[in-house]
Structure formats: C-alpha cells, structure tokens
Symmetry: C2
Subunit: 184 residues, 2 copies
DNA sequence: AAGACTTGCAACATGGATGACGCAACTCGG
DNA sequence: CCGAGTTGCGTCATCCATGTTGCAAGTCTT
C-alpha cells in the first residue's frame, strides 16, 4: 500500500535523525532497529547510506527554508523578523539538528538553499544595524556567527517552548548577560 | 633514542587532532600519513584506535585544566578572571578542539576534570553576578552554556590572536550586539 | 477470495579498517 | 665500530558495516 511505504520512509528518516544526532557513526542496523524495521527494508528504501543521509538533509533543508520564509523577514521590522525567524528555525532544528548541521552537502541544491538563507540572514542583520537595533560598531559577520551558535545551543538545551527560547535567545544576543556599567 | 620516540608520539597526537577535527571518521592510515609515519608505527605506540583517542583526550584535558588554573580565577576579580580564563582556554581549544569536545570520556579522571572545571565556571559566574557584572535576572546555567558556545564558535572562526578574541567574546557575552534602547 | 505490494528473515558477497607479525635498515650513544 | 632502539614495509588474519538476493508471510485493495 502506498501510504504504508511512505510512513515507513518517514519512520526511517526520523529514526535516523534520532540515532545519528547521538552517534554520527551509528550503523544502518542501529537506525533500522530504532525505526522498528529490518535492515534490509532500509536498504530497499535508500540505495545506500549516503542516499539516506542525503534524503534526511533534503527533508530538513526544505523545512528549514520554509521556516525562514514563514517568518516573512522581508515585510517585517528587523526585530520582529528576528524573533519570528528564530522561533520557527528552532522548531525545525530541535527535531532535525543532525541533518541541518550538514550545510555543505553533495547536493548543490541543498548548499544553494543554505547559502541563500545565510545571505538573507546577513541582510536581516544589516537592516537591524541600519534600524539601530544592532550597534554600529559590531562586526556583522561575528554577530551572525554568534546568532548561529546561540541557535545551536538553544536547540541542544531545549528549555521551554520555541517561543520562550527565541525570546531568551534574542534577548541574550542583543543585551548580553551583563549589566550596563560592567564594561569600560 | 628516547626523545625520538617521544617526538613521534607528539607528532601522531597532533596529526590525529588535525585530521580528526576535520573528519572524525578518518582512518588510522590517514592519521599516520598526516603524522609522516607508517600506520604500523601508530599501532606500535597506541595499542588501539581507542587508546590513541584516549591519549589525545588526556593530553588536551591536562592542557585545559592548566589553562584554567593559570588564570587564577580564585584570586582575581570576576571580570578579569573571565578575560584571562577565556584567553587561555581559547589558546588550547584552537589546537585541541576535537579532543576537548570529548568531555564525556571512558576515563573517569578526564570526566572528573571537566566537571571540576565546569563547577569552577559556575562559581565564577555566580561571583560575577554577586559583583554586579552579570545581571541578577539572568539564568546562570544559560549564561554558562552561552559562554561555552561562544568559546566554541570563536575557536572555530579564529579571527585575530587569543587576547583579541577573548576581548570580543567577553564583550559580546556581557553587552550583546544590540543597542540599549533596542529592547522592551 | 485473488492479486499487488511490502516486509522480515536468512544467507551471501564484498570492501575497508583494524591489529599483529617478522625482517631489514637506519640512527643513535657508548 | 657495535648494539639497542626505532621505523618502514610487506604480509596476514579478522572483524564489521554495507549492499544484494530469494523466499515466505503478511496486509490492503478490489
């Protein structure tokens, strides 16, 4: 049956994400076991291990792009867009952290999406700086890297729902954790 | 000759760090090649792959602990200690990023050192909060995680020397990248 | 109930990585 | 110059993950 097969594929993809995020060197056997299917079934659905990982990356990348797009960073003030994008991306990253960490893929289309999103992120930070949300003296490339690192960390720790995490994340990104008088 | 053997061991350890940081699944063959020795020599010095990795972790962990201790976080004001520890740790992390990322080791002594350093980090942040360097409303566990994430990111990007990186890192950690009026 | 589709299972082939030897050659200190 | 120590090279055994195939059994559609 058609929907059965698709459900199996989904189960395998999700199991692979679960297993590989804990141990990137896990065997197909372990992935199959986590998915509740035989190893041969995995090989029937995915010609090779690489094909499986590529499928995971493709799936996660589509979700990633959709998460960013759904926040409409174009037609929203920078600060609001930052919140929305962060919350949406966190929702995806929590479930697909392993697949999303493979930005440089053999699939050129995936790499293109990632660099497109990265470019949009750069624009967002530039707009934020222009709008006076980000300080003028800040290196935007460094700011973006910090932003990525915070998203990664937040997705790992998973305290509260995505919106609460996004709030805290953006707060930390913009204000830091120190007092005003703390630094010279 | 004795010093010859020790030099070989060092070369292998450094090569392993270099290779494994790029590809954690690299073979002993690739490590040996990067070290400029034959694969059999690696096996002569390290009984197994696990033994090699353990040796790397042990070596890096000792450096790590020494880096923290050298900053004297006990007898220094929190803010200064934060700078010193950051700069010292960055110097180690740049060269031993792979080995340092393996905090949970089979060797209990390594795990003990890591948790001891983590505990000292917690104390440092608590002192910083008490001293008014860190805001009172900040979750210190989150602050510490952010700090770790920033160190990881800084070690990856490697812009400038360790002192400059530490300065920017601590600045970002405490002030963030936003303006004062930016948030509500 | 018949047929198409999918799965589990067992078996097999293959390749790559790991680890263990022995031997010849080389480099030191003595 | 001699001997201990070390290394490179070739070889061999072994293990494990990967990938393939055939067959029986199950499920769902019609």
């Amino acid at each position: 049956m058609r929907s059965d097969a698709e459900r199996t594929v989904r189960a395998i993809l999700e199991a692979a994400e679960r297993v590989l995020s804990r141990n990137p060197a896990a065997s197909m056997e372990q992935i199959a076991e986590a998915a509740g299917v035989a190893r041969t079934t995995v090989h029937r659905r995915f010609a090779s291990r690489e094909a499986l990982v590529d499928a995971m990356i493709g799936w996660a990348t589509r979700r990633f792009a959709a998460a960013v797009e759904a926040a409409h960073p174009e037609s929203t003030p920078p600060l609001v867009a930052l919140y929305q994008v962060t919350a949406n991306v966190l929702r995806v990253k929590i479930d697909w952290g392993f697949a999303m960490s493979r930005a440089l893929s053999s699939d050129p289309e995936v790499a293109a999406v990632h660099s497109a999103v990265e470019e949009r992120c750069r624009r967002l930070f530039l707009e934020a700086q222009t709008a006076g949300v980000v300080r003028a003296d800040v290196d935007l490339e460094w700011a973006r890297r910090v932003y990525y690192a915070l998203i990664h960390e937040a997705a790992q720790s998973q305290n509260g729902d995505a919106d609460a995490m996004a709030t805290r994340l953006v707060d930390t990104l913009l204000r830091g954790v120190g007092t005003e008088k703390g630094l010279g």
